[in-house]
Symmetry: D2
Subunit: 296 residues, 4 copies
């Protein structure tokens, strides 16, 4: 019977720094020198940018540094390499808020997957600009907050949303078919430091960069495309322009009306968003220069 | 032992007309009244446009009308319905010209598929703005014509191309990675009548409408997409805006450089173009209002 | 603004009979003669078997026969052709029972899709050999019946199940990860007449015919396959041998442990079962000679 | 302008050994200590088997050991870890023989990809039990050897084949739709040492383990499956039972006759075989315990 190491806690190091020889050796040597047993190690060199990215995951059990000493040590290590670093622990479960409007397919899917153990997160808070999905959210044990939004109330609504995020100690927001655009002001206030700058994930119902903006399924139908898709991406100030994490497509035919595209698209959206979120939560995604490296 | 009817010749009727009741009955009744045994029948109603499209294929063996009488009868039938109609015969093999530049992957694939019997066409002519692919074309028995194109010579080059198409009695042009844009003038001269207006098929190396125009793989890499694709479409005066026949995508990752996208894309391009061309040649595609109905 | 005909009720005719000329004309002519406006018509000839299959769907509004007269007329029509026929009405919502064990992913998915309008059915009854999923079932308004099954009690348990199906006037059973094999005796009692013989749909967690029987994911992992899959099929007395409706696969790698296969497989299972069920409920599936024709 | 490091030569180390801490550090440290700049590093731990697998690729330019000293050093390193190791150089192009019968789709595809630079190999030799494909092979510059095989001549034929492989200094055999089973005797004579034991790759026209053996498409049609596939695998003495490298599937419908399955399957076969071969040639595949780890 093999030891199920995967059930024990791990530390996950992410480093990004200028490329030079011996970086893999230096990083893995640091883990080994502290008695860490590496579970996964993956690296990427962006030759054009001259950047080296690394993700190393090791068992916390038996590691020589106490947990509270690891983050400072990582910072020092990264600085020595002239770059940035961060560390996460697999047993620290992030608190996530889900923003929705009226459609419930992504919300139900994410809450179900969380309960099923597929997504290592807690969802204490669901925020919506409509009252419709209260029962779904509360059925899974999340608080539901109805924050109406219109052109006149938007600034105030976003202040209320930010306050709710702070009150619930939220570190990640997932826009699960939230049909409002978050302002630059909102984004500038809800932003992590350094490598953790991106804290909002959105699902857009097209394979970006096609059909940015409103009503992508209607425009896809008009254009007569033979496949439709969905894109999960980090939200930036540029509408539908943030770093892409995951994309998915499905074939359609002339028999599919707009309603069929919407129906088929729901499955694409659910899967792309769930995969992207799982990758993010397991710290398999690194963002740099408007792009992502996904270590899966 | 079943009779292999598929090896015998068939007639393929395409009709497009205003929607009203009893059209399926009327069309299939016409075939039956003339003693035709229907092999395939497929229809589509575009509710928004109020249009009915039908494709009916039946055995020529035993049909009551002589082949030369079928087309006039179809025209009369379609006019009675207030629409348009055309008929093709599966044993009439279209003569197709392939336009290429320097890349040979689509050319080799199409010529190989033609020889293997997958594509019911003859390819007597390959035209290129570069001399590189002569050996490939001639190796499969096609004439190779090198027609250089630059800004100054473009009009004259297109005249020469049109003359070659006429000389070889070409009815369909396939742009198999031909890196030049055909002018409106060319298209206006190489155009069928009525329902057969579209006689040029192109393969574009992106999932349209994303990345229209030049260097889609470079732009896809810049954007950091997680899938790339290819689109086979009829060529119209609007660049990369014609009716789409087939699209295909493949996943890529941060490890893929532009060269990898180009390499992976080649397989997408080959498959999408070959599928689209097979559908066209078997008269499974109908074009209307800038879109296609694909009866597969 | 186009009339949304798709929201009105339709009749769906399915006929299977020996192949001969003029069948399309005869069937569509019968619809037209009764004033029916055909919405979809699709046919298939199995040359080897010498059989003709047809599915025709038309608007009930304006049809010349009253609904109760249609079924007898269809029976007479089919007998005239030496075959079998049946008719369904899109506004008659079938009553479906879902059998489950402990896993809830397919159950939640089906109930959610039913509520969302993707699956035209009612689910008054959920039966399980374990008590775990009562809350899920009841949360969507279904009765939950716990019928424990072991080797000794199996015959009695099946009698209880059959009684529940009768009490709830169930016409279709969906095995949504029900980890018990239904006996031939059960199947012989829960069986429709004629073309409606197949009334039980199962989701098997492999791409059949690979990995029939127990623990397909474990065996797939052992074999080192690079893709796993799911198969939705009608249940017959032959274990995992019934007519296949839908199959789906997903790539896996050496990094995936058995638990990862199970997790990835859940998405395959949910999608394949939901698609198959939608096809069945819209009467797009015809079964003959151990196979299905799927008119999509 | 970034340096195109990918165009320069690299060394690729593969190690398999018992799992224990600090292995990543030890291996990458060895590369760094010799002045190597790591281009890719990937590892895998099989927890059940207690095995650690590693693949490290680094620039040969500037490496401290002369090429001829690397292999002995790697052997010593692997022995120190209680395992096995091997090293390959990207500028050493393997000599590959392709075995075919009458079908040419895989042969043409592999030869075209080799010429296009997608497959880093040389193909000096094509062996067939039929004379049909001489022209194809010779057109791409390969020697074509016709070695007829029947039950009586099989042993002698295999001796002749082995002699041809030796004469042409072949290190890898690809069975590209070679419709004969190689005997255990053949395999025992054409086998590498240690980790290089597997030197024959086959493409089987089904998604194994479904439809092992003869006529998979016919049996797939009989079973009424909704998808077909292809499997590229290393050949072992167990028919269609060797380690799987790559699998691919494509959807089929009731409209597809056996000939359509064969046609659609050809594309699956070509792609799966080409991908598997590219992975093998780039030394991205490691075999252990009847399975493969594919570092892509």
């Amino acid at each position: 019977m093999p030891l199920d190491r995967s059930s024990s806690a791990s530390a996950i190091l992410q480093v990004i720094c200028p490329d030079r020889p011996a970086l893999v050796s230096e990083l893995s040597g640091w883990v080994a020198a502290n008695g860490g047993n590496i579970r996964h190690a993956d690296h990427h060199t962006d030759l054009g940018a001259g950047l080296f990215l690394s993700r190393i995951e090791w068992d916390l059990a038996g590691f020589g540094l106490p947990p509270q000493a690891i983050a400072p040590a990582v910072t020092a290590l990264a600085e020595r390499l002239g770059g940035e670093g961060q560390v996460h622990f697999s047993d620290t479960v992030p608190r996530v808020a889900i923003f929705v409007s009226k459609q419930d397919h992504c919300l139900v899917d994410l809450l179900w997957r969380t309960r099923a153990g597929e997504l290592p997160m807690a969802v204490p808070l669901v925020i919506s600009n409509h009252p419709d999905l209260r029962e779904v959210a509360e059925g899974f044990g999340a608080s539901f907050e109805h924050v109406p939004v219109n052109a006149a109330s938007k600034a105030a609504a976003e202040q209320a949303q930010l306050q709710l995020l702070a009150d619930h100690q939220i570190e990640l927001v997932v826009l699960a078919k939230y049909m409002q655009v978050l302002s630059s002001d909102f984004l500038s206030h809800f932003r992590g430091e350094g490598m953790q700058g991106h804290q909002v994930i959105n699902i857009h119902h097209s394979f970006l960069p096609a059909f940015k903006g409103a009503q992508p399924y209607h425009r896809a139908w008009e254009r007569g495309v033979k496949l439709i898709g969905a894109t999960a991406h980090y939200v930036t100030e540029e509408l539908d322009g943030g770093p892409i994490i995951e994309q998915s497509t499905v074939h359609v035919s002339h028999r599919d009306e707009v309603d069929d595209l919407i129906r088929k698209g729901r499955d694409c959206e659910r899967l792309a968003l769930a995969r992207a979120l799982r990758l993010h939560l397991r710290r398999q995604v690194m963002v740099y220069r408007g792009r992502t490296a996904v270590f899966d």
